[in-house]
Symmetry: C2
Subunit: 222 residues, 2 copies
DNA sequence: TGTACATCAGTGAACGCGCGTTCACTGATGTAC
DNA sequence: TGTACATCAGTGAACGCGCGTTCACTGATGTAC
């Protein structure tokens, strides 16, 4: 099989002045590799080049090296994540529903992009600075959402909303990651339900008027 | 520096009949490498051999290859973990205190062995089978501990203890892992305190007679 | 007591592989005169 | 309108590296006769 050669021949070179297009293709290919493996060590310049259909050295016209490429990948992932959240939050007025919906979205993203999620929050992620920027935005949104629940009397006001946001984030991270990494564990419920229960208890939600997601036992197995 | 050569010369060969000793040395070296990096890709046969002070092919007398070595490392880590838990649980009668103490121990282990912990529960961990054996034991101990709290009237009985154990485990995992991976995040409290609050809320502890770790706000920042 | 042999605990050289990175290059396209 | 030149978007060969893995080996020690 001369797959590489074929691929190389297949790809038409970008028109003059639009060489930057390749940058996006490279990031996309690297993202796919990470999504597929969940492991950033799989992202090699040669591997990415092969996937894009270019020669490995061509990457150097757009990235200084592997680290810079990985950084770009993580940035893109966080942007995707943020835009997804933006779409999701449209048209939910009820504070409790909004909070739970945001948390569900978080976990759904993790489950739908396990490789990406794993990488975004791993110690390998080169996005320490960027991550805290985008991450800080997400956390402050979560904080706001919790504060709204408290103000409307739907949540316990005993704990500072900023602190609660950290508790919620940490727990959801564990839930999502373990569901991804050890799906064969005997989970008492699916990720969505566990998210609801966890957030409800941590934040002390008093129960939404429409669904009553309070402390009652759900479909958990006995 | 001829460090490698020196190391090789330094190591005396094991007496006849005790070649198996090397096996332990190899596992120990691999464990150190993982603890240092938290990344199993750093565990290479050549790297381990160098650390032990032997030639790389010598490893093949004890392990079939990298995967088998990693499996042995994870097994050892879980054994260490279990023995630590065993020591910890001595002499605590109060059910609530016992539960919280066990959870603290879990998180402390994670914080003290970040690389090991990260690897044990990562998707790279080759211990899918073994992990669920040792892991199942840990979970059933946790379940028992929660059940005892419920029986003594210290915890909400609204949820099945087995389900609660899963909730607790997942949340602690997230807490521990994020404290390890993103220590620079603005955490509202240290890991110990967050563990107490999280477990208390998830399990619905009613407050121990001696310390009152209930829903009251702790030293969280506002 | 001596000696041939088997076993044990490793070694050292070599292989092919994929990797990051460098370097000089190619060929198409726009632009100044 | 023609042509020399600059720029752009890449390429292909080559390098040194560390890796897993193989192979035949070495030298010490126990054991059978």
């Amino acid at each position: 099989m001369t797959a590489t050669a074929e691929t190389l021949r297949d790809r038409p070179r970008n028109p003059r002045g639009e060489g930057a297009r390749l940058r996006d293709e490279i990031i996309a290919a690297a993202t796919e590799l990470i999504e597929a493996s969940g492991d950033s060590t799989q992202v090699t310049l040669r591997g990415v080049a092969k996937k894009v259909g270019i020669a490995a050295p061509s990457i150097y016209q757009h990235f200084d090296g592997t680290e810079e490429l990985k950084l770009a990948v993580v940035e893109r992932m966080f942007r995707q994540f943020a835009s997804k959240r933006h779409v999701e939050r449209e048209g939910i007025d009820d504070p409790e529903e909004a909070l739970l919906s945001g948390c569900q979205m978080y976990c759904r993203f993790a489950l739908e992009h396990p490789g990406a999620y794993r990488f975004m929050f791993s110690h390998e992620s080169p996005a320490d600075g960027r991550q805290s920027a985008t991450g800080a935005a997400a956390i402050s949104r979560l904080t706001e959402s919790i504060r709204r629940c408290q103000k409307s009397g739907r949540a316990s006001v005993l704990t500072d909303p900023r602190a609660l946001a950290a508790y919620v984030w940490a727990s959801l991270h564990g839930l999502a990651l373990l569901h991804i990494n050890t799906p064969n564990f005997y989970w008492p419920a699916n990720l969505e339900e566990m998210t609801t229960v966890t957030v409800t208890r941590l934040v002390g939600l008093t129960g939404s008027p429409r669904s009553g997601t309070g402390d009652r036992p759900r479909k958990e197995n006995t």
